[in-house]
Amino acid sequence: MKVYLDNNATTRIAPEVLDAMLPFLTEKFGNPSSFHSFGSDLMEEIEAAREKVAALLGAHAGEIVFTSGGTESDNMALTCSASINPLKPGLVTSTIEHPAVLETAECIRSRGHPVGLSEVNHDGTLNMDSFISLITEQTGLVSIMMANNETGVIMPVEETARIAHERGALFHTDAVQAAGKIPIDVRSSGIDMLSISAHKLHGPKGAGALFIREGIDLPPFMLGGHQENGLRAGTYNTAGIIGLGVAASLAAEHLLEEKGRTGLLLGRLEAGILEKCPGAIIVSAGARRLPNTATVLFRGVESEAVMTLLDIEGICVSSGSACSTGEETSSYVLAAMGIGADDANTALRFSLSRYTTGREIDCVLEVLPPIINKLRKISPYANR
């Protein structure tokens, strides 16, 4: 039995999504930008997909720009914002953002612009004092992720957006992990820009979107053709965009029901692990988290060994660290929370989806505890 609990890495494509995409990979191969109707008729389908994505976010279709995924959306939001107003090129974000944000922030810093990284608390929530202290007159953009990919902790988007606006800055959020898992309403949350990725919500890889609130005029990100109002040139990834649209609709349709169902399964998984695995600690247990994500420390047991043994049993999970170069690099997210490398090296992430079943959870609870016990028996740190 294959057990897939690595849905924060990527998700299974929904059958409805694949069905909707296939015609665009076969007979409907035209270029939506063409003059002839064989191609240009597809523009209607693209616009329909735009409506669907907008509906998931509470936005207008005209505020959605299609991209190649979450990384591009984050790059676009941060890079383009930095050049809107020469008096406010600064960026404030946090230490636990996705590398797509952190690396772009580093690039902005290297151009001489002020970049501040807000600290987080021990439970993975945003340290508001640190956050507020970093915003200056020069801050043009604040970017705080909606939920963290490792801990699942939900960040205070509405509050940080309000603070950003009070200081005259725009607000972007990387909602790649949150979209489809918790309700999003860009209007009531005061969000100016928001990134999503199709493959994290049962859509195809290579498609994503950036919501840009009406009235915000970003300079072009990709130069070339006139697609996406000249902001993002490049031939439309028709099948990918259609897939993203259907995936967004399905996510919206299942959102509330899934939030409850996935949450119950996750609770069952966490309770079972705590009961059967001595030394296990749920990271950010007390914080508000996504209903699908749990990172667990199995003290005394190195995570890659556990992953390898789970993999042999057909169970897919992930860890923040990888022993590939001899220099183990443990999770920067856990490090930012003050979790030492000794514990961070024992962290495993379980992430569920709409397709996760109770049987899969039972299988993990049957297979995992003996593996942990076996590794603890040969670990010099099991009882320290």
Partner: protein, 183 residues
């Protein structure tokens, strides 16, 4: 995964610890050495990836029965070959076992030197209790191991000499050192 020789020894002749939990790889090694300097028992504990655990286990399998000198020549390539190959990015995992072995052998030699030093000092400045037991006889050291020494005795009260030597060694090393007589 069924690693061989995992665990600890109750009274190891030598012990080593390498790596650290912070850097993601760590290992302990316990060894018992026989009177021919051969590795009689060897046990490891490893915190690390499956590759590190497998390499630790392979190292102990190769080392078992070898003399300490021979064990020091065990190479990474031997460990990798024993496992039937390893991905290149995991080669570094096999280094830890070698390092642990080197440290354990050094620990053994240090402990043996310590026992030898105390034994020699007893024989150099013979305490009154030993002088009485030795009387006119002689004592020759045959072999020194951290936990036991073999001696040849001639013309002495064997039981008395053994008792006095063991007591003196215990007092000075803080450990139980067995005295064995070779005839």
């Amino acid at each position: 995964m069924n690693p061989r020789n995992s665990g600890q020894l109750l009274n190891p002749d030598c012990h080593s610890e390498v790596g650290s939990v912070q850097c993601g790889d760590a290992m302990t090694l316990d060894i018992q050495v026989d009177d021919e300097d051969r590795i009689a028992e060897i046990r490891f504990m490893t915190f690390g990836c499956a590759g590190a655990i497998a390499a630790s286990s392979a190292m102990t399998e190769i080392a078992k029965g070898k003399t300490l000198e021979e064990a020091l020549t065990i190479s990474n390539d031997q460990i990798v070959a024993f496992l039937g190959g390893m991905p290149e990015e995991k080669y570094h995992c096999s280094v830890m076992g070698q390092e642990a072995l080197e440290l354990a052998v050094a620990d053994f030699r240090h402990r043996r030197d310590n026992t030898a030093e105390h034994l020699n000092s007893i024989l150099r400045e013979i305490p009154a209790s030993l002088a009485a037991a030795l009387s006119e006889g002689s004592i020759d050291i045959e072999h020194i191991h951290p936990a036991r020494v073999s001696v040849r005795l001639e013309g002495v009260d064997e039981e008395a000499v053994i008792a006095v030597l063991e007591e003196e060694l215990q007092n000075r090393t803080g450990k139980k050192v067995k005295v064995m007589v070779i005839r």
